[in-house]
Symmetry: C2
Subunit: 229 residues, 2 copies
Amino acid sequence: MFRQSNLGERLDSAVSCLSPAGSAPFAALVALEQIGGRRSYQQDEEIYGELDPADCWYKVVSGTVRICKLLADGRRHIAEFCFAGDCFGIDLGRERLFSAEAVGDVTVMRFPRGATERLIDEQPELARHICDMALRSLAHAQSRMLLLGRMTASERVAHFLLELAERRDARRFVDVPMSRNDIGDYLGLTIETVCRVLSSFRREGTIAIPTPHRIELCDRDALEAAGEG
Amino acid sequence: MFRQSNLGERLDSAVSCLSPAGSAPFAALVALEQIGGRRSYQQDEEIYGELDPADCWYKVVSGTVRICKLLADGRRHIAEFCFAGDCFGIDLGRERLFSAEAVGDVTVMRFPRGATERLIDEQPELARHICDMALRSLAHAQSRMLLLGRMTASERVAHFLLELAERRDARRFVDVPMSRNDIGDYLGLTIETVCRVLSSFRREGTIAIPTPHRIELCDRDALEAAGEG
DNA sequence: ATGCCGCCTTGATCCAGGTCAACCGCTGCT
DNA sequence: AGCAGCGGTTGACCTGGATCAAGGCGGCAT
């Protein structure tokens, strides 16, 4: 639908972190690059917090970002992980509803909202592209709702590993930049349950865990079977 | 941001069922109405099924629609309920990932996808409006993920009642067109748990249940407290 | 090197919500 | 009227995953 751009990076995401269609029109993307500024964050540094003004959006250059929310009683929910090429922080309201934090060291491009809206007015194709990304994210959010609402712990973890492998273009060895705690909060499980499921997959020979942050998919079929009834 | 339209109906939704911003530009909406056709469905009739071609989208005129997915083993997940004014079936792919069914008797407007895309090309403002709707739905999907991933049964049901009241503009008496089963599949609970939580709210005087499909919110504060820690 | 600290892993126990089952009450059919 | 069927409600019991607790292990500072 859209002409292939040579900027190379995808405009991925999901819920205020939009997922990639094809590529946006070349001219629009070049113009976008003009208004963005580069910025880096250390491990666990906050990129923005809940209730901060939502006056800009971001694209991950390198590293991993988590989009999350903390409830009053300490429960935490991670809405999304964003990897290199993914966009996040595209919100409608004036204030952030979620916070964004660096999982490891992270570099991002930062785009002011005002300039982007002006750009959209000049280049209507851009609106269509963002619309596309939003709809794609919506579909992703849908499948996550299904996962959170109706899937068992094993199904969630299997699904997570496969998603991770796909999004990071990994065939056999997947590196897992986030902590077990982060995984738990992303999947609606506790850290202990995540560990136990991973261990049981390992015992069954489905995966190997050379280090906690590197997982080998030994039997992808078994994983896919575990990921969906 | 957008001029108020006098078409009266909102373009609501969430995940392939988009939520309302303000109103789209008048001219664009008038043009939209031109290409739509009206159609009615009986209770539990399928409007479209999974894997059907996604060649059109819909707007609810009257009644309630459920957007859902059935897993192989019979587990069902309801992604969204759509009420009068809400849009649904705006998908990116060629095939439906979810099905849409009439909760009760339903009347919808049906819009061909091709004609809509041509209209968007002519009226770029429309793309921006759809983008807006998609982002709004994304925010809604986010909060549902939090609910499904991290909230207790009581919190889910309280949240559901408040959401229902708000979306249907009800102050004290909320009518509940869907079955307990539908509610369970929407909230990631069983029918029995939904019943039990409703009964416990009733026992505490938070709500009254004159009929199964009509609920009185007697103590909204208590409900709001139950809906969020 | 050594000791501390944070993250991961594993085991033991608990409980919220699922499962199974009975029954109620309404509706529609004979 | 009588009865069958279906959705809703309630009770008894079970279980998957949470919670609580105890190490293990690697990295880093002293």
